[in-house]
């Protein structure tokens, strides 16, 4: 990392993406990002990773087994 400030910012990026960072830390982070291109790029790449995870869907879901259907339908009686 270019400097210690960047390292500190690095530890806060996920909380910031989750909107769980305290307001003061948010201000510090945003202020740093304005002037640090490598950190902006890293932040964007982390954001893209999270987005890729959010969009990921498992394909080919098999139908529920007969045993499952029967158990759930029985529980409703």
């Amino acid at each position: 990392m270019p400097d210690r400030r960047c390292k500190h910012i690095f530890t806060m990026l996920s909380d910031y993406l989750n909107a769980e960072l305290p307001v003061k830390n948010c201000r510090d982070l945003e202020c740093h990002l304005k002037g640090c291109e490598p950190c902006i790029a890293y932040f964007e790449s982390l954001k893209n990773t999270v987005e890729a995870c959010r969009q990921y869907q498992v394909r080919k879901i098999p139908a529920p087994s007969q045993k499952v259907r029967e158990a759930l339908l029985l529980a409703l009686q």
Partner: protein
């Protein structure tokens, strides 16, 4: 929490026959999908879905609150995944050090960060990128993998993930960040390899 799950559970709890079949399909999709992401194996995912949903049948009347039931559902599914016959697929228990994951100067150089700009070629390769994402997630130690899947894929909030995992919210946040950085680094390497391959083929 994914509202689709809560709706499906509410439908089952209400016993409204008309929508029950669809609710069962939805829950099968949720639990099987979770099992696939965690275990990476169809057989394990199918076992997870079957065992979890049969246990759900016994609990339907016990939880008045659909959200609490959904958290319970993930807890059971998580335990089933951990007990799966093919559990050797889980990486040995290990910690991810934040220092080791810290980006290097080269990762933050213009060449390193350029690898994240999307090009038309990458759209074509989306399928392969998807495979890489799956590999990166399965390479995560299990307690990081579970947190990332629950938070970023199943879209539970931090409190719910902490509840499912039986850990504090603070630990949940730390594990999540390390897991995201691990996956980010795994994908960055892949995209960069592609770029280098392309440059060589164009030389």
């Amino acid at each position: 929490m994914n509202t689709q799950i809560e709706e499906a559970l509410k439908t089952l709890q209400s016993g409204n026959r008309q929508d029950v079949e669809r609710a069962i399909e939805t829950l099968q999709g949720v639990v099987y999908g979770f099992g696939m992401k965690v275990c990476g194996s169809h057989e394990d995912a199918q076992d997870t879905a079957q065992e979890t949903l049969i246990r759900l049948a016994r609990q339907l009347r016990e939880f008045p609150d659909a959200r609490a039931l959904a958290v319970w559902l993930y807890k059971v599914a998580k335990t089933q995944c951990m007990m799966s016959r093919r559990k050797s697929k889980f990486a040995p228990l290990q910690m991810l050090s934040l220092d080791a994951l810290m980006p290097t100067d080269s990762a933050l150089s213009p060449a390193g960060t350029r690898s994240w700009q999307v090009t038309p070629e990458e759209t074509v390769l989306k399928e392969e990128l998807r495979g890489r994402l799956e590999d990166a997630i399965l390479a995560l130690p299990k307690h990081y993998r579970l947190v990332l899947i629950l938070r970023d894929m199943e879209q539970l909030d931090t409190r719910e993930v902490a509840e499912v995992m039986g850990i504090s919210e603070d630990t949940t946040k730390k594990r999540l960040h390390r897991a995201r950085v691990f996956v980010r680094n795994a994908l960055a390497g892949y995209v960069q390899d592609l770029r280098e391959g392309e440059s060589k083929s164009h030389a």
